[in-house]
C-alpha cells in the first residue's frame, strides 16, 4: 500500500509526466470558474437584496471575501509546496510555489483595495486600521518578501529553496500575527461596524458569495496550472521533449 | 589500499552550460588526487560538493565509514578544507585564527603547537598582529599553517588552489608537505594549475581537454 503510494507520488512529481497529464485540466477548471464567477457576480450585483445597514456597497463582498480567502490559502499552498520541495527534493513543488506568488500577491492587493473602497462608505474613511485589513496588509508584505527573495538570487534553485524556508517561517507566523493584530485592534479601536458581520446573512446573499468563493478557488487552480506548466517548460528546456513542446506552443 | 570515496554519475551545470556529466571516480587512502581543468570547468564546485558544502552537483557520493557516519557527508572531525576564501579573519591575529580553526574541529592544542606551525610557514614575529596588516601571501600562509599542525584525527585534505599567491620557496615547501602527508597515509584532493611530480599523484581531468 505504502509502496504504491510512493510510486504514485514519484510519478506525479516528475515534471514531464505532470505536464502530459495536466494538459486537459486547466481547460475544465477555467471554464467552471468562469461559469461560477459570472453567475455569482450577476446574481450578487443585480438580484441579491439590498443590505439593511450598508446599502448597496456591501455588494463588494462578492469580490473582497473570495480574494481575502484566496490570498491566505495561496500562502499556505506556497508553504506546503516549499516544504514538500525541501523535504523530498521535488522540483515540481518548487515550480508550483514560485508561480503561486504572483497570483497570491494580486489577490492580497485586490482584497486590500476592495476593502479600502468598501471602507469609505461604511466607515467614512478610505483606510481604517481594522484587524482584517491590517492582517491583509502584513500578508501582502510577506508576499512581497517572497517575491523579492526569489528574484534576488542568482541561481533559480537557490531562490526556490530560500523562498521555501521564508514561506515556512511566514506560515508559522501568520496565526500569531492575526492573533496579535486582533488583540491590538480591540485595545485601540472602539467597536466598529465589521465588514462582514457574523449576523445571519440572507440566503440570496450567501449563495452567490459561496459560489464566488468556489469560483475564485477554481480560477486559482486554472491559473496555477497554466503557469506551472509554462514554468516546467522553462526549467526543463534542456530536455528534448520540452523544446519540442515549446515549438508546438509557437505553432498554435 | 582502502577506498575512501566512490563518486558516481556526478553532474553539474551552470547558466545552462553543462560543466561535467557522468563523472565517476574513486579515491584511495594515501593518494593525491589532482583535479585539473581549465578555468570555469567546475573544479571548485566539485571540491565543494566533496566536502558537503554545495548541493549544486547531482549524483552519488559514498565516503568510507572512517571519514563519515552516513556515507554521504564528511564528518567534520577528520579533514581540512582550504577553500578559495581562506577563512582568515582580518581583525584577528594568526594565532587566534588558527586556534579557532582547531576549535571548530572540537579539539584543543597547546599554544606552543600553534606557534610552531606559524613558525614553519614563516610567520615568526607576526603571530600576534592582526591578519589584516599582513600581505596577501602572508595571509595565505596563515591559512596554510593549518596543514602544519599536528592533529592525528585529520586523515584528509581538500585543497582548493593551495599554491595561489605563494613565492617559489613556499610552493616547494608546500609540495613537500603534501607529499609527506600522503606518505604517512593521509589523502589529498587538490585543484591546481600547478603540477605535482610525485608517484602518488593521480590526475582527474574535468571539463574541456587542456
Amino acid at each position: 500500500m505504502w509502496q504504491m503510494f510512493v510510486r504514485w507520488f514519484h510519478k506525479w512529481s516528475s515534471p514531464k509526466w505532470f505536464y502530459e497529464m495536466s494538459r486537459p485540466w486547466s481547460f475544465w477548471l477555467g471554464w467552471a470558474a468562469v461559469l461560477l464567477i459570472a453567475t455569482a457576480l450577476v446574481w450578487g450585483l443585480a438580484f441579491s437584496p439590498v443590505e439593511r445597514v450598508q446599502g448597496n456597497s456591501y455588494r463588494i463582498i462578492f469580490l473582497h471575501v473570495p480574494a481575502a480567502f484566496l490570498a491566505q490559502a495561496i500562502y499556505m499552498t506556497i508553504a506546503i509546496a516549499g516544504a514538500v520541495g525541501l523535504v523530498w527534493r521535488i522540483k515540481l513543488a518548487f515550480y508550483a510555489a514560485k508561480q503561486c506568488v504572483p497570483i497570491g500577491t494580486s489577490m492580497a492587493l485586490l482584497a486590500l483595495i476592495t476593502g479600502a473602497i468598501w471602507g469609505k462608505p461604511t466607515w467614512g474613511a478610505w483606510w481604517v486600521w481594522d484587524a482584517r485589513l491590517t492582517s491583509m496588509l502584513i500578508l501582502l508584505l510577506l508576499y512581497l518578501g517572497l517575491w523579492a527573495l526569489q528574484n534576488a538570487m542568482e541561481r533559480q534553485e537557490s531562490g526556490d529553496r530560500a523562498a521555501a524556508i521564508l514561506a515556512l517561517v511566514g506560515v508559522v507566523n501568520i496565526p500569531i500575527i492575526k492573533f496579535s493584530v486582533n488583540w491590538w485592534n480591540t485595545l485601540h479601536q472602539p467597536a466598529t461596524l465589521k465588514i462582514s458581520s457574523a449576523a445571519p446573512m440572507h440566503v440570496s446573499m450567501l449563495i452567490p458569495l459561496l459560489m464566488s468563493i468556489l469560483g475564485f478557488y477554481l480560477a486559482f487552480g486554472a491559473w496555477m496550472l497554466i503557469r506551472t506548466r509554462l514554468e516546467i517548460l522553462d526549467r526543463e528546456k534542456k530536455a528534448k521533449w520540452a523544446q519540442e513542446e515549446i515549438k508546438r506552443l509557437e505553432a498554435n | 589500499m582502502t577506498e575512501l570515496l566512490r563518486a558516481e554519475n556526478l553532474y553539474c551545470e551552470r547558466d545552462e552550460r553543462v560543466l561535467f556529466n557522468h563523472l565517476d571516480f574513486s579515491l584511495q587512502a594515501g593518494e593525491i588526487l589532482h583535479v585539473k581543468g581549465p578555468n570555469g570547468a567546475g573544479k571548485t564546485t566539485l571540491l565543494r560538493r566533496l566536502v558537503g558544502l554545495s548541493w549544486v552537483v547531482e549524483g552519488q557520493l559514498k565516503w568510507h565509514d572512517s571519514l563519515s557516519e552516513q556515507g554521504e557527508k564528511l564528518d567534520g572531525h577528520g579533514f581540512w578544507y582550504l577553500a578559495h576564501r581562506p577563512a582568515v579573519t582580518l581583525q584577528q591575529t594568526p594565532l587566534e585564527n588558527l586556534a579557532f580553526a582547531v576549535a571548530l574541529h572540537n579539539q584543543n592544542l597547546p599554544s606552543e603547537a600553534i606557534w610552531q606551525a606559524l613558525d614553519t610557514v614563516g610567520l615568526r614575529g607576526y603571530e600576534d598582529v592582526p591578519a589584516g596588516s599582513l600581505s596577501a601571501g602572508q595571509q595565505r600562509r596563515v591559512s596554510l599553517a593549518r596543514l602544519y599542525l599536528d592533529m592525528p584525527s585529520i586523515k584528509l585534505w581538500l585543497l582548493d588552489e593551495p599554491f595561489t599567491a605563494l613565492d617559489v620557496n613556499a610552493v616547494r615547501q608546500l609540495e613537500r608537505r603534501i607529499e609527506a602527508f600522503a606518505e604517512s597515509g593521509g589523502t589529498v584532493v587538490m585543484t591546481s594549475h600547478h603540477g605535482l611530480t610525485h608517484t602518488a599523484v593521480r590526475e582527474l581531468l574535468i571539463g574541456a581537454p587542456l
Binding site: A162, I165, L166 | L53, Q92, L104
Partner: protein, 223 residues
Amino acid sequence: MMLALAQMMRRELSLANRRRADLANPLFFFLIVVSLFPIGVTPDLEKLSEMAPGVLWVAALLASLLSLDLLFRHDYEDGSLEQMLLSSVPPQLLVLCKILSHWLVTGLPLTLLSPLLSVMLALPGSALPLLMLTLALGTLTLSLLGSIGAALTVGLRKGGLLLTILIMPLFVPVIIFGTSAIQAFVNGMPWVAQLSLLGAIAAGAFVVSPWLTVAALDVTVGD
C-alpha cells in the same frame, strides 16, 4: 564541545570589540531617531509620554535591524562561515553563539540606553523596569528571527534592504505585545499576559531559529 562553544563566544565578542564602529552605529541611530520625534511631532510632554513606548520600541528595533545585516556578512566574505558549517561542532550551536553575542553587543546596549531616552519622552519612571524587560526580550527575538533573514540574504549585494522586507512583517506580533504591555502598565491595566506572550514568542524563536538559520545558510553558502 563546551570548550569550542566558549571559544566561539569569545571570538564573536572580541571581534565585536575590534569592529567598534559597527557596534556604535545602532546606538547612535537609536539616539537620533528618538530625539527626532519630539522635533517632528510635538514637544508636548503629555503627548510624548503617550507615544513613548511605541517610539522607543520602533526605534530600538530599527536600530537593531541595522546591524543584523552584518551578522554573517564578514564571516561569509572571508570564508569562516563555510568552515563553521563544516565543523564537527553542530553548526546550530555555533549559530546560536553568534545570535547571542549579537544580542549582547546590540540588543543589550540598546536596552541599557533606553532609560535615558525614556526620560526625554517623559515616560513615567515606574514603567522603566518593564520597558527594559520587554525591550530585552524584544531585541533578543529580533536577533533570533533576524538571523534567519540574515542567513537568507548573506550572499546578496543589497542584502540589507531585503533583510528588512523579509523580517519586518514577522516582527509585528512582538511590537504589538511589547508596546501594549507598557501602555497597559502605564494605564493601570493588567500587563502580564502581553509579557508572557512576548516571552513565549522569544522561547519559540530560540528553539526554531538556529535550525532554520543553518538550513538557510546551507542554501545560500552552498550555492
